[in-house]
């Protein structure tokens, strides 16, 4: 018996090592657990639904532990070069786990109050996380696309998750149709690149573009489609139309999910596609991204002013933040990529706190998603008003919050490649942006409350959102560690 088990062990180990499967352990773990949760949930009574929740959180925790354990600071490929585990992937995945952990936690009471506390939300969420992980670690266009679609399909379903809500169904439909269109564009671009270079592998594509004596027109053509698809997924102007409707229409806990962690994954996708595989034509996509960035900053910040619904306002604010993210990427330097990674991570943290606060203010039968609902929060709960104040000032980029360093790093990267005008455009629009964030602070601190009902929240929610809000302040006071981690992730 011992002999057999040893042999099995050896064969298994050999296979695992040959394929580099141990690198995929976090993904395998999440997939397995998602399936277990899915099946287990079928047999659970409604009152035991909390088991699903607990297992989902455990999954994220375990995956985080695996990601950290496997991170060794080097880059390895697996699955015949279609998968890569590098420092950037570890960092991005770790923060995806942390942010989704917060998202799941914030969602629990919200779902309960609306009779939506079902396993589907968590199962879809876990599959979404798996999609993000695959996107982040993709080293082939096919892997990238698979990850993206896994994420997108989970998100479409999550938006439509509140079956009886007309707005949500409309949002889901819009999201699905437009998202499918964008995926098509991206896929078309990828297939053209395959036609030109004869490979889907990111390293091989990069090598064959690098070896080209002169650039083919077809490559630029393909690049346009890739950039277009990416811009759509990121929500950059003029491909931003879906964002406000989806953010607004989706149940707040889903908006929270869509608005936070996927930004990190989308950044990673942009890095894999543009910086790693198409780095040779940086001059071309840099210019395209510059146009997208300026438009996003302008449209996002200006239209956000006109919003009365906080979810819509945050949607437009996302668009403007995407503009900043693109600025970091388009600089085409390692510092720029690191600054964009820093931006994506901090944005995800800020967005989680902002939407979390909406959830905290909501209660059974009441959605606190308009600006009016935040009136006089300081009188109702000074601590939560203070946390929201931190989030708002951080989004506006005012020190000593982390949002300031995110903007500082990006502007520094842009100035570093002599694109001073872009830096000036960015800061100019951030002045306009400051206005609508200030308005939220104004409502919370200067106005009298309209709603005198006490806030309903559990201890876990209270602790989590406090940690989340204080993280914004603490990362702002001591940004060094995260900044160095981002630099290290980019190989600096």
């Amino acid at each position: 018996m011992a002999f057999v088990s040893q042999a099995v062990d050896r064969v298994f180990k050999m296979n695992v090592e040959m394929m580099g499967l141990q690198l995929l352990l976090p993904e395998i773990f999440v997939l397995t657990m998602a399936c277990i949760v899915l099946v287990l949930d079928l047999f659970l009574h409604d009152r035991n639904r909390v088991v699903t929740y607990g297992l989902s959180q455990l999954t994220l925790f375990g995956a985080l532990a695996l990601v950290i354990a496997l991170a060794d600071g080097d880059s390895h490929t697996a699955m015949f070069g279609t998968y890569v585990a590098d420092p950037m992937a570890s960092l991005a995945k770790a923060f995806v786990m942390l942010v989704v952990f917060a998202v799941f936690l914030y969602s629990k009471d919200y779902l309960r109050q609306r009779d939506l506390f079902k396993g589907e939300y968590y199962v879809l969420g876990l599959f979404g996380v798996l999609g993000m992980m695959v996107m982040i670690s993709a080293h082939s266009y096919l892997t990238l696309y698979l990850g993206l679609e896994l994420l997108s399909l989970s998100l479409y379903a999550m938006v439509a998750f509140h079956r009886d809500s007309g707005v949500a169904s409309e949002a889901a439909m819009k999201y699905f149709v437009l998202g499918a269109l964008a995926s098509g564009m991206l896929l078309y671009g990828m297939s053209l690149i395959y036609g030109i270079t004869g490979s889907l592998n990111i390293a091989e594509v990069a090598a064959s573009i690098g070896a080209m004596a002169e650039l083919e027109l077809a490559l630029i053509f393909a690049l346009s489609f890739v950039v277009l698809g990416l811009a759509f997924k990121l929500g950059a102007v003029p491909f931003h139309m879906w964002i406000p409707d989806v953010y607004h229409g989706a149940p707040t806990c889903v908006t929270l999910f869509i608005g936070s962690a996927p930004k990190i994954a989308a950044f990673a996708m942009a890095m894999r596609l543009l910086a790693e595989s198409l780095g040779g034509v940086q001059a071309d996509w840099g210019g395209m991204l510059a146009i997208l960035a300026v438009l996003s900053l302008a449209v996002g910040n200006v239209i956000a002013i006109a919003q009365a619904n906080l979810k819509r306002m945050l949607a437009y604010s996302t668009i403007s933040h995407v503009g900043f993210l693109l600025l970091g990427i388009l600089s085409g330097t390692v510092e720029g990529y690191a600054s964009a990674l820093f931006y994506a991570i901090t944005y995800a943290i800020m967005a989680a706190a902002a939407f979390g606060m909406i959830i905290l203010l909501s209660r059974t039968g009441f959605e606190a998603d308009t600006l009016e609902d935040f009136k006089g929060l300081n009188a109702r709960s000074p601590w939560h008003a203070f946390l929201m104040l931190l989030v708002m000032f951080s989004m506006a980029g005012v020190p000593p919050t982390v949002g300031f360093y995110a903007k500082l790093a990006v502007i520094q990267a842009v100035v570093g490649v002599d694109l001073l005008w872009l830096a000036l455009v960015a800061v100019f629009f951030s002045i306009i942006g400051a206005f609508y964030y200030l308005r939220v602070v104004k409502l919370m601190y200067f106005d009298e409350p309209l709603d005198s009902q006490p806030l309903e929240y559990g201890t876990d929610m209270h602790v989590a959102i406090s940690v989340n809000g204080l993280a914004i302040l603490l990362l702002g006071l001591f940004p060094g560690a995260l900044m160095s981690a981002c630099m290290a992730a980019m190989g600096l």
Binding site: P382, V398, Q412, A423, V427, I431, Y445, G480, S484
Partner: protein, 504 residues
């Protein structure tokens, strides 16, 4: 023993942590919050005294330096240090905060803990601005300062407080983001965020002019200079008394400090090239805003406009240096201009703070700032009347008060530059007297205006203490300015020598 303490860090963090403690104490025990705030502010003031006594006036080098790496990835350091320019401003800050805490003692009834905490935190941030020697650290304090002030005006302000505070925030934010781009540009050029490294960084003329303009946007809004001054009257009028005092006494000085710490030494050639611009704007502030002040109906607005005019003197003094050197060939007169500007800033800190506190005393009793609602206050409040007359006299530059010294030095310096500069600057002696004395005539003297005035109670002990301390400071500085001038002398001399060396 004292020299081993990280004095500047203590000065920054004691009030901030004290403020957090006050916040934590909460409103249930307003007396506790008040006492804790007073103790913290007194402690901070005491901590700032060794800065003065232990300061070596013989050197222009930075003293009490602290240097710790902060964000290694960007070479950002927690670098603090003070010289003759920053020490008086820091002491002004700690001194004024004690008075502000006292001034809000009984008057503020709504959210006392938050009010006190906001002022304490702001004190720490303002000291940070004056002590920071790293550009990003400076910027963090500079912008961070806006948050408490935004809340102070917005929560405890007057009827149009929301308009005023958002205007205040956006104006200042507008100015400062361009400064941020300039700082980043210089970081890329020099590889360091050290302000002292920026001083030595060679820059071409075009770069200097652009950087100068970026700084100008930031500092001109803060000072404020005409034509970006319009936020100030609004902010002053709507702010609670304490907010107005801090705004006038310290925040405006941060703009002037910026010119001395950044604009002049970093872009000396652009400063020389564009000195006409600053001089013109300063003279417009002195003359035009002086006229505007005369016609104000609201006491706080009048003092706000007079602040703009007086700060015009400070900026005038700073930027006269090039014209003086060109005219006379010696640095002596130029130094007079710089010193005059600095003395003017400190003196204005005392006087404008005192005047706002005087208005606060009246407002607490009558709930009106309209000049026409008063008249004959001296009949019912003789002690208050005496204080108000003294401060108004100081505001118009009466010899023997601190207001005289700064104005006189700057006018004297401007004679060496150009007769017409001096002529226009000297109109302040008339305009200042006109608006200050007319204010006093209408409010303090004359027949008792109405029933309410007839029932006024004179200042209580707390108010007497506040105004008395300020009166002493105004007179002391007016009669014996030597310690202040000695404190700044070496630093300003060094600054002047640095500015006169072209970077091209």
């Amino acid at each position: 023993m004292l020299s081993e303490l990280p004095l500047l860090s203590l000065l920054i963090w004691v009030p901030i942590l004290g403020g957090i403690a006050v916040l934590a104490a909460g409103d249930r025990e307003p007396w506790g919050a008040r006492s804790l705030a007073l103790i913290t502010s007194l402690l901070t003031f005491l901590l700032s005294i060794p800065l003065f006594t232990g300061f070596d006036t013989g050197t222009a080098a930075m003293q009490f330096e602290e240097l710790t790496p902060w964000v290694a990835a960007f070479d950002i350091n927690y670098h603090l240090g003070v010289d003759g320019i920053s020490v008086p401003l820091i002491i002004l800050t700690t001194f004024t905060t004690v008075l502000v805490v006292l001034a809000g003692w009984e008057v503020i009834r709504k959210r006392v803990a938050q009010y006190m905490a906001a002022f304490l935190i702001m004190e720490g941030l303002m000291i940070g601005v004056f002590a920071a020697l790293d550009a990003v650290l400076f910027y963090v304090f500079w912008e961070g300062m806006l948050i408490p002030m935004f809340l102070i005006i917005g929560i405890w302000g007057g009827p149009r407080r929301v308009y005023a505070t958002i205007k205040f925030f956006l104006y200042t934010f507008f100015g400062s983001v361009f400064m941020l781009v300039a700082l980043i540009y210089m970081y890329i050029q020099s590889g360091s965020f050290g302000i002292l490294d920026f001083h030595l960084l060679p820059l071409g003329m075009t770069e200097q002019i652009l950087i100068f303009i970026a700084f100008l946007l930031a500092f001109a809004v803060k000072v404020p200079m005409w034509p970006v001054h319009t936020w100030l009257p609004d902010a002053h009028v709507e702010a609670p008394t304490g907010g107005s005092v801090i705004l006038a006494a310290i925040m405006l000085k941060i703009g002037g400090y910026g010119f001395l710490r950044f604009s002049l030494p970093i872009t000396p050639d652009a400063s020389q090239e564009l000195d006409w611009l600053i001089i013109s704007l300063s003279l417009i502030a002195v003359v035009y805003i002086g006229f505007v002040a005369i016609v104000q109906q609201d006491m706080k607005k009048l003092i706000a406009y007079s602040s703009i005019a007086h700060m015009g003197f400070a900026t005038l003094g700073f930027f006269l240096i090039f014209a003086i050197i060109e005219n006379t060939g010696t640095a002596q007169g130029a130094l007079l201009g710089l010193e005059g500007g600095m003395v003017q800033m400190i003196s204005h800190g005392f006087i404008s703070g005192a005047l706002f506190l005087c208005v606060g005393v009246l407002y607490d009793r009558m709930h009106s700032r309209e000049i026409s609602d008063y008249g004959g206050v001296v009949n019912t409040m003789p002690i208050f009347g005496a204080f108000m007359v003294l401060f108004a006299m100081a505001n118009s530059g009466l010899p023997g008060t601190s207001g005289f010294i700064g104005e006189f030095m700057v006018i004297l310096a401007s004679f060496k530059a150009n007769f017409w500069y001096a002529f226009l600057a000297a109109t302040t002696l008339m305009l200042g007297a006109a608006y200050s004395l007319w204010l006093v005539k209408r409010v303090v003297f004359g027949e008792v205006g109405n029933k309410q005035v007839a029932q006024l109670q004179d200042v209580n002990r707390r108010e007497f203490l506040i105004l008395g301390v300020l009166a002493a400071a105004v007179l002391l500085l007016g009669l014996w300015p030597a310690p202040l001038v000695d404190l700044m002398h070496a630093t300003l001399e060094n600054l002047l020598a640095h500015v006169l060396v072209s970077k091209l």
